[in-house]
Symmetry: C2
Subunit: 520 residues, 2 copies
Amino acid sequence: MVYDPKIVSSRRDMLKKSAALVAGSAALVATGPALASEQCASKQPKFDEIYDLIIVGSGFAGMSCANQAAQDGAKVLVIDKMPVFGGNSTINGGAMAVAGSALQKKAGVEDSVELMVSDMLKAGRGMNDKHMLKLVCDGTAESAKWLEDHGVVWKPFVQHFGGHSVPRTLQTRESSGSGIVRPLIETAKKHGVKMYDKTEMRGFVEDDNGRIIGIKVQSGYFWPKTKTGTPKVFGARKGVVMATGGFGRDIPFRQIQQPKLTDELDSTNQPGANADALKQMMLIGANPVHLDQIQLGPWSSPDEKGFGTASQFNTIAVYPKGIVVDVRTGERFFNELADRKTRSNAILTRRDDQNKPVYPVGFTNAEGAKRAQTLGWGLKYDVIKKADTLDELAKLYGMPADKLEKQVARFNEFVKKGHDDEFNRPLETAIEMKEGPWYAVRMWPKVHYCMGGVRVNTNSQVLRLTDDKPIPGLFAAGEATGGIHGASRLGSCAVAEGVVTGRNAAKNAVTQTAAKLELA
Amino acid sequence: MVYDPKIVSSRRDMLKKSAALVAGSAALVATGPALASEQCASKQPKFDEIYDLIIVGSGFAGMSCANQAAQDGAKVLVIDKMPVFGGNSTINGGAMAVAGSALQKKAGVEDSVELMVSDMLKAGRGMNDKHMLKLVCDGTAESAKWLEDHGVVWKPFVQHFGGHSVPRTLQTRESSGSGIVRPLIETAKKHGVKMYDKTEMRGFVEDDNGRIIGIKVQSGYFWPKTKTGTPKVFGARKGVVMATGGFGRDIPFRQIQQPKLTDELDSTNQPGANADALKQMMLIGANPVHLDQIQLGPWSSPDEKGFGTASQFNTIAVYPKGIVVDVRTGERFFNELADRKTRSNAILTRRDDQNKPVYPVGFTNAEGAKRAQTLGWGLKYDVIKKADTLDELAKLYGMPADKLEKQVARFNEFVKKGHDDEFNRPLETAIEMKEGPWYAVRMWPKVHYCMGGVRVNTNSQVLRLTDDKPIPGLFAAGEATGGIHGASRLGSCAVAEGVVTGRNAAKNAVTQTAAKLELA
């Protein structure tokens, strides 16, 4: 294997070398290429393998990009540093917000791209990149069908997720993102997409004009053992797409932006979800936006690790069809269908006088829980508890039984008359909870999603800090990008974003003039 | 003049060159210095002038740094790109929050560093860098005295600014930051500090070990005519301190982070307050924090440009001693002593059905306005209006007179009993407003302060994105840094930050081993 390290960047070097050395490299950046080339004759690099498009990351964005690019005739490579494909996308609920789906029409739900944009803007506190937001919402209906054509099977009903003004969420039959990623991997392979796992991107390769023409990788790498594997250089004639996700599991990095997100807070993310790829892009001049906007998932449980069984149970059962109460009072304390930021913030206020968490309890009854596929597992692992009566439920969690009964009766009254006098929660999907058995979980938020990331334009090109123009040959899609969601992402909008922007990156990348690259 | 451009960075190049060229330079960064030096033999640069410390920016932070460093025996240069020294620091209210001042003791106010930290944490929504916050609060009392020793004269009373739980704000006799910057410039010059205006920093100079040893500047530059002036290179044996302020007037850059901060929103900042220096630091690997946390000042008026006369009038008269009402109802709608974010957000909600601003009106009576030094100018320019009776006041702004009278009576009742039943505003400094004449202004927020900036440690060293370690030789102080204030800075804490961190940077920079530099 031959490669020319002189114009190949090295993430390992950048991230691990001593302070002085890393800073030393910086003077050369700012020197500008004209000066640099006077000074240092650059050689055309040789590549171990050459593709049209290289996609880093194999989640919703990466696999949507790969399929679209292959269909458009490109020779595609997908790499993932982890030993399994799919990243966080395989360990979430597989729910996708779609404006104008066939299932909405069937259910008589009136929706529009404009309404979805408006819901996301509201949750995003107006910080959203409106052009990208419009692009995503606009693409959802067509992309949901495109996913069906690729073997994705949706549940036969549409759901009402928090912060959305109408039911517009489709969910895979499996209640998991793997119901999207798995078929996309199958179809990609059928279309000739090459896929390497255990392959970590460690730097960009540029040509003399500053165009990104490839990446340096560590092949056969066992995460997180940094010294394993072999270096290789892959060429990308039409571009590199960074579909590298967020940094929710990178505790030191997230705490720099949000000191309160300590290691006491669990995360729903897979362990590889760190800031390395983001740093790589920033080092070559990408513009980071909204890095301090980090989302907590309001549906997780402290009684299990990660996304677990509670997240799906709460999303499909407790939040739309049950209530959440403070165990000390047995009373509700927030709108259970507010956006994620509002709900997480509300839950995090439940603390004792030592500032220790007092975990609220969310519950519904058998009718409310009937569509919750993780109920069985949750009960098995003792994360979800069952009680035949409210009195028994109160005892399980040390709640005042009389107050709890009053609260349920009061909520049922609201459902009956169609208005929540206390927290103005939309009640379209709510039910009167008249009898047990009851199913309940303790709740505490977990770090779930990074709204921040690199700034892109509507061609999914990564934009430069200095002048807001594209870095040639560099694209990004999905959670790796910042700005679409503003201050708070609504539930089921990450799948929408990943699929639509992944395909968008592919469509634009394949139209680029191919760089002339040479094999080693 | 001779300089070696090969290891000298060039902001002009970075910011102005074509996309391809700028990106092209990036490959070399990531290459790492070891590779770079194999490839490109670097030469020791020669400098036009050599100092121990070079300070970029001449506001509170820069001039405090300059004085401290000169007193500690350093040979110091201060540069400023603008034709006048002082930046934003000369056009604000000159108010400094101090925990434990002599004036507090005289007024019987009990205060502590811990209380100030806690107030700032609350306003900052817990996003604050606690180490830096503690350092700033801890240094205020000593720094306030240090300023007095340098000729600053405080008003003989302590004020209660919004979001502070006790009165702790000192203010210059002049009600302007020029009352601090002017004497600091005088004493600096006495101590031999060299000061160049019209001199723009355009890049860093590093040695082969990555230590910052100087800057490239454009001397004799007429802002914003980028092609004016002459390039020079200045050496800094002990370090460069970036006291370059925020980017409040950089409309495209601020809109990337906060799309709502359009050019419809005025700013209190001087026209040179752009993101150029921040970008320079990011290009050599500084870590940006909280760039989307941009503060609006809640005390400005749409009836004049910039900071104007209303800001001081509202700060010293309307907010502590008067009330702010919606002109359509004549009623209060927020706690007038809440932190700036809360107040600005409240004001921005006053809009008509076309989403156009409905400017609220703030007012107090003659007794409340007696300490407002800008009252005369405000009246002269017709920004502040006078009315003999509430009825007349109501007519001036088209408010319902009966409701306005009821509101004033109701507020007076709150003051009398010592509790604001509606918005829980602290009433220690409030007065019963029993009779006219009344003084009033229309209010609308303006972009005022960037909480975000580069991350630093408690030695005021700029920390690197990749590994959170210092970039050798590079310091930053004041608004150029990010993290101290979290999501919202409290009023009068910028002067505190600037003075304390400027001096802190000096104290640490002068202890560095001097680099050996050569004159051209």
